[in-house]
């Protein structure tokens, strides 16, 4: 008796998921913002590359290619026009920067002014490696009186013994009493 409705519900779910999937597949082409096509595949490829390189000036973190802001559309139209007029990618980039500053470039230029930007990750990585290697070396030199290396876990954070032992509560109780921890600490400190 309970089985009938359950099967029916599963079928309904499957049908729902199926139709959603079909709907999603049908909708996919509608995401293309730009209806216009460049006359040749080469120009189209350059147009796509360029519009993905520029930032939409009013939406901060969207590329020109992805933005449906009117300004973005007009800048795309301008790029299309420049490409059709035979301008090189370099010239299009220069045109954009001379109007909208380097802010419009998602990938900053390799210039002396931007050196810190490009070098910062490398510097940070070097610092990280240096710090990590120092910590690892310091750790490996820690030995206890027996000449045995000290267990890493002990250095990091001494684990308190199981709470149930300290308060002598029921071992079967799976819930750890939050009050148990301070009690353990003071007990082990003595």
């Amino acid at each position: 008796m309970t089985r009938g409705p359950r099967v029916a519900r599963a079928r309904l779910l499957a049908a729902g998921a199926g139709s959603l999937l079909a709907l999603a597949l049908l909708c996919a082409p509608a995401y293309a913002i730009d209806p216009a096509q460049m006359p040749t595949p080469q120009l189209e490829a350059r147009y796509l590359t360029l519009t993905h390189e520029f930032r939409c000036p009013v939406c901060q973190n969207e590329t020109l290619a992805d933005s449906d802001e009117p300004v973005a559309g007009e800048i795309r139209a301008q790029i299309r026009k420049l490409l059709l007029a035979g301008k090189s990618d370099r010239e299009v980039r220069d045109y954009m920067v001379s109007r909208y500053t380097e802010f419009i470039l998602f990938k900053p230029e390799y210039s002396l002014r931007n050196a810190w930007l490009w070098l910062a990750p490398l510097v940070l990585l070097a610092i990280g490696i240096l710090v990590a290697s120092r910590i690892i070396r310091a750790r490996s030199m820690l030995v206890d009186q027996d000449g045995e290396p000290v267990d890493d876990d002990l250095i990091l954070e001494p684990e308190p013994p199981p709470a149930s032992d300290a308060i002598g509560g029921s071992r079967a109780d799976p819930i750890v009493d939050p009050r148990a921890r301070p009690a353990v600490k003071s007990a082990s400190a003595r």
Binding site: P70, V71, E74, K81, S98, Y100
Partner: protein, 186 residues
Amino acid sequence: MSARPHVIRFLIPIAAFVLLGIVFALGVKHSPDVGVIKSPLIGKQAPAWSLPVLDGTGQTFGSKDLRGQWYVLNVWGTWCEPCHEEHPELLAIARQASVPIIGIDWNDDDAEANDFLVKQGNPYKIVTTDHDGHVAIDWGVYGTPETFLVDPSGTVVFKTIGPMTPQVWQKDFLSRLPPQLLEHPS
């Protein structure tokens, strides 16, 4: 155990925090928010432009007609809320100063624009229409209103983004204009 590892253990996070603080402070200060992109056109020759005049006579107007004189170029649209906000200030400027204000009505409906100017008053000497935005983009416009000051040689002297205010007009426009253009010759 020596005290050194402990000192380092404290210093590293503090140093990292200070470094991060500096990076964020620089980021906030240089954040290209609306109104902060300084026009790279300032000090350069203004892009040549020519657009149909809004009056519907089919005439065109542009940089050729403005050579040899100071002008204020205001990019606006009836769809732009801050443009409505600055409109009374533009009207006041048009009454006081003798530098012409040229309008570029961007992305707009001509009838609506005309209607707006009839109802609110027209501060512009000439209003042109840029339906596809090609001139506005050429001028690096991205948020209306944007107002440029251009000198007789056609060089962009100043640009402001956002509504014109008496303060901006006084401080950034009037101070750059020659004295004979400050007062209306009436």
